[in-house]
């Protein structure tokens, strides 16, 4: 191959690289998006909620004299009837019940609390953050705001992030298995 051909090819590649780079940069300014109704996704997430309850240990004070394991949803419920199918399952030798809450009054009776995107997050977290309540949400940056487990879709697969120090504050012990599967774990000692 001649030098000329080499140079032509090289400049051609440079041009393509430049186009690709430009297109790449273009995408940086894209707007954030709203949420939409989800179906299958929440079916899978329901199973995650159940698994979370099994891989987290609550302090004795939260389980003492309780015959039920309370799974709560505050705000609009994205799970629908899927969630009700969990009712009656055994979690830590207790019977799982689902409570959909309309106010923050009953929060501290929950073992696991799913905080919907339209709930008043800051207020809810301020009530439960020092209680033995496992908080879970889809809200972006949930763990940064003091929540314990945040769902995050990665390539359409359900993943989650964990804030270990928030769990410690709540008195919850998260199994190493769950920690090892998390996308990231913040505040680990």
């Amino acid at each position: 191959m001649t030098d000329i051909q080499d140079i032509t090819r090289f400049t051609g590649m440079l041009r393509i690289l430049r186009c690709l780079t430009a297109a790449y940069l273009l995408c940086l300014g894209m707007p954030a998006s709203a949420d939409e109704a989800r179906v299958s996704e929440y079916r899978v997430k329901t199973a995650f909620l159940y698994n979370f309850s099994r891989f987290v240990t609550w302090p004795a004070v939260a389980m003492h004299e309780r015959t039920e394991f309370s799974l709560c949803v505050i705000g609009s419920d994205p799970f629908g009837e899927q969630l009700d199918k969990l009712t009656g399952k055994a979690v830590h030798s207790r019977t799982l019940v689902v409570n959909r809450l309309s106010s923050i009054a009953m929060l501290d009776s929950c073992h696991l609390l799913y905080i919907s995107e339209d709930a008043e997050l800051v207020k809810v977290l301020s009530v439960v953050s020092d209680q033995p309540v496992l908080t879970v949400s889809d809200v972006e940056n949930f763990t940064e705001q003091g929540g314990i487990i945040q769902f995050k879709l990665v390539q359409n697969k359900v993943r989650f992030r964990i804030n270990a120090s928030a769990a410690a504050t709540a008195g919850l012990n998260i199994s190493s298995k769950l920690l090892s599967l998390a996308l990231d774990v913040s505040g680990r000692q």
């Binding site: 191959m1 051909q5 090819r9 051609g12 590649m13 393509i16 690289l17 186009c19 690709l20 297109a23 790449y24 995408c27 940086l28 894209m30 707007p31 954030a32 998006s33 949420d35 939409e36 109704a37 989800r38 179906v39 299958s40 996704e41 079916r43 899978v44 329901t46 199973a47 995650f48 159940y50 698994n51 891989f55 199918k85 969990l86 399952k89 879709l153 990665v154 390539q155 359409n156 697969k157 359900v158 993943r159 298995k177 769950l178 090892s180 599967l181 996308l183």
Partner: protein, 688 residues
């Protein structure tokens, strides 16, 4: 795209597998040009295919389910109305394979035959050859077949197997979505996103035949949330067996990166690239001398083929309102190959756009545009030359496909692809598919499609000097010759399939097809008085034919931690010359693929950290260019031990039953074939 039907998925043989049945043809789109990951939003797991109670599944299995992230309508019925087999990341590990051809051996309907240590003949549903030309191979949406002969240089198609999410093998025509060359099948190799390959992986493999494979990969995240990975890989393989000595040992190295940036919930941007170099040994018989009394002088030449190449790919996918999305993909690909006969120096640039949306509730529509420019340069030699020695070729195409819900259980898919290429001009490839979800556990589907295999650069422009058979040597040079009038081969395919899944304990996938081909390639000889005198065999389209067959894939979850799989294919080919053709070789394709091919394999877990895998494979006898190759049975074994989290040690045996066995023979270029030898190797995978 993503739509997969994971007949096989079962990470770690944990409890019930999540069979992801996908909607290939709805989101097929997706696949379409292989914007695979781009459209993965639609690659849904169907609710109906998952166990009723997902809480029975392990967290790891749950994490493998693809979900509909933006969908206003509930996902129901509809499954892929096509014959799909998916090889998962877990399969690749447990099968103990070291490269892509080995991974394809157990797939029903796919012939994999090694010619020498660095050359393979791989095809779907017949017509096998080193230069097999009716199969489309995509790696992360980038086409991997060379337009020189419409086949694949398999030794140059390397990926870090640990980073492969899955290999989707779709038998049957995919022309409407993927375009020309997806005549008998599509192999879609999809690597994991950078977000899923975080951390460092070091993998070392060494043994008698696999002399050494070393991989280092590191994945991380930038402050702006962009995930990335970089990797380097080196392969060294020993030569195969030939009683006269073999010279086909080979080495290759590859570097690459991938970044994925989920900019917003709606926007994902992927940028990736690879660069490779390789040196592959071979002995090739080169006919020489102008004329003389037979036999033609043939010089056995031992020489290395040097390869180098690279690619850059950019993809932006965006989710719009109303359950619609689009993806834009651009890639650049360079292929360099310099051997004793073949020479190729090629640059390809491709840009494609796809849009997927719902219309009036019941219509799921995907359409797209594609432009590909490829130019090559050849250094002609007396054996192999192209005229002109450099050529640019443009390919324009557009497609549209609609998936229409006739009822809750019935989905009709219809689509067409229109394309224009510089060799055969305008082409159209329509298909119609119907999927019926009989009940939540079974689906029946059928399809009729037309697909074309457009002329390759070689069929148009080549002059390739052949080694004449000893019993029919004219004593003057014999050439396969390009023909500017050579037209596309075309196919009308009728397919029927049934998929059954019983409570995830066992599943069965059956697909049958009848293919009606027209204008298949022939070589009709004619004497050219010269001077110098020669015999030319220009490519022509004087053969028709039917092929038909049935393929099975089954899975049985015997119990927790033990899974059995089996696959079987039966193929019959009947080819006819027409227009007075006297071609004496092309009909031989009837015998170059085995009538029967079967595999059975077991994946067994002992406790939490010990895995035992075993496989038996049978491939029926074949005949290539009049020389027969015996059937063979081979066995593979693997013992894997997770010594501690992240550290896996395994010992693998491949092709254990015979010290060596033959699989295939060369055609067109008379390279020395070598046999596949018993291979034993150890592997250490350390992720931290």
């Amino acid at each position: 795209m993503v739509n997969s039907q994971y007949v096989n998925e079962l990470p770690d043989c944990d409890p019930p597998p999540p069979p992801h049945h996908g909607r290939i043809f709805r989101t097929g789109l997706a696949l379409v040009a292989g914007l695979c990951t781009a459209f993965s939003v639609h690659a849904t797991s169907l609710d109906s295919e998952l166990p009723d109670d997902l809480t029975d599944m392990s967290l790891e299995a749950l994490m493998d389910i693809e979900v509909t992230s933006v969908s206003k309508k509930p996902e129901k019925q509809s499954e892929a109305a096509a014959a799909v087999f998916v090889i998962t990341n877990d399969d690749l590990r447990r099968w103990g394979v070291t490269n892509i051809p080995e991974a394809l051996r157990r797939v029903p309907g796919i012939d994999v035959a090694r010619i020498d240590a660095n050359k393979w003949a791989i095809t779907s549903r017949g017509f096998n050859s080193r230069f097999a030309n009716k199969l489309l191979v995509l790696i992360d949406g980038r086409s991997a077949y060379t337009p020189l002969f419409a086949g694949v240089y398999w030794d140059s198609q390397d990926v870090v197997l640990e980073d492969v999410d899955r290999i989707e093998v779709i038998r049957g025509p995919g022309g409407t979505l993927w375009g020309a060359n997806a005549v008998n099948g599509v192999i879609n190799i999809i690597t994991r996103s950078a977000a899923e390959t975080q951390g460092t992986l070091v993998s070392l493999t060494a043994g008698n035949e696999v002399k050494g494979i070393g991989t280092v990969r590191h994945g991380g995240q930038l402050k702006n949330g962009m995930d990335y990975r970089v990797y380097a890989k080196f392969n060294s393989y020993d030569s195969g067996y030939n009683a006269d000595g073999a010279h086909d040992d080979w080495r290759s190295g590859q570097l690459g990166f991938r970044s994925d940036w989920v900019k917003t919930e709606r926007d994902t941007v992927t940028f990736q690239g690879d660069y490779y170099r390789g040196v592959a040994g071979q002995q090739v018989n080169i006919p020489t001398g102008p004329a003389g009394p037979p036999p033609t002088t043939v010089i056995p030449t031992v020489s290395d083929t040097n390869t180098d190449g690279g690619n850059l790919l950019f993809r932006w996918s965006h989710i719009l309102e109303n359950n619609s999305n689009f993806a834009l993909q651009l890639y650049y690909d360079h292929v360099g190959l310099d051997g004793a006969v073949l020479f190729e120096d090629r640059d390809t640039f491709d840009i494609e756009f796809q849009h997927h949306f719902n219309w009036r509730e019941k219509h799921d529509i995907v359409w797209g545009l594609d432009y590909r420019h490829t130019r090559d340069n050849t250094e002609n030699n007396p054996t192999f030359s192209l005229d002109p020695s450099a050529r640019s070729v443009n390919l324009y195409s557009t497609f549209i496909q609609d998936e229409y819900s006739l009822s809750e259980d019935l989905r009709l898919t219809a689509g067409i692809k229109l394309e224009h290429n510089d060799f055969s001009g305008f082409e159209y490839q329509p298909n119609v598919r119907l999927a019926w979800a009989v009940d939540p556990s079974q689906t029946l589907w059928g399809s009729i499609s037309r697909a074309v295999r457009t002329p390759s650069r070689g069929e148009h422009d080549v002059q390739l000097r052949l080694v004449p058979p000893a019993d029919n040597d004219p004593g003057i040079p014999v050439y396969a010759e390009g023909n500017s009038d050579y037209d596309s081969e075309d196919l009308i395919a009728y397919e029927l399939g049934w998929r059954f899944n019983h409570k995830n304990a066992w599943s069965l996938d059956v697909a049958g097809f009848f293919n009606d081909y027209d204008k298949l390639r022939t070589l009709d000889g004619s004497f050219n008085p010269g001077p110098p005198a020669s015999v030319g065999f220009p490519f022509d389209n004087n053969m028709t034919g039917n092929t038909y067959g049935v393929e099975f894939a089954g899975q049985w979850q015997v119990r927790n931690g033990w899974r059995l799989n089996a696959s079987y294919s039966w193929l019959n080919m009947d080819l006819q010359l027409e227009n007075g053709s006297t071609d004496s070789t092309s009909q031989g394709a009837e015998d170059a693929s085995p009538v029967n091919k079967a595999a059975i394999w077991s994946a067994h877990n002992f406790g939490n950290n010990l895995q035992f895998d075993a496989a038996l494979r049978y491939v029926g006898d074949i005949e290539v260019s009049g020389v027969s190759v015996d059937s063979y049975v081979e066995a593979d074994l693997r013992l894997g031990w997770e010594a501690r989290p992240g550290l896996e040690l395994s010992i693998i045996g491949q092709n254990l039953l015979n010290s060596h066995h033959a699989e295939f023979l060369p055609d067109f270029i008379d390279t020395q074939p070598t046999e596949v030898e018993r291979s034993i190797y150890g592997r250490v995978n350390w992720a931290f």
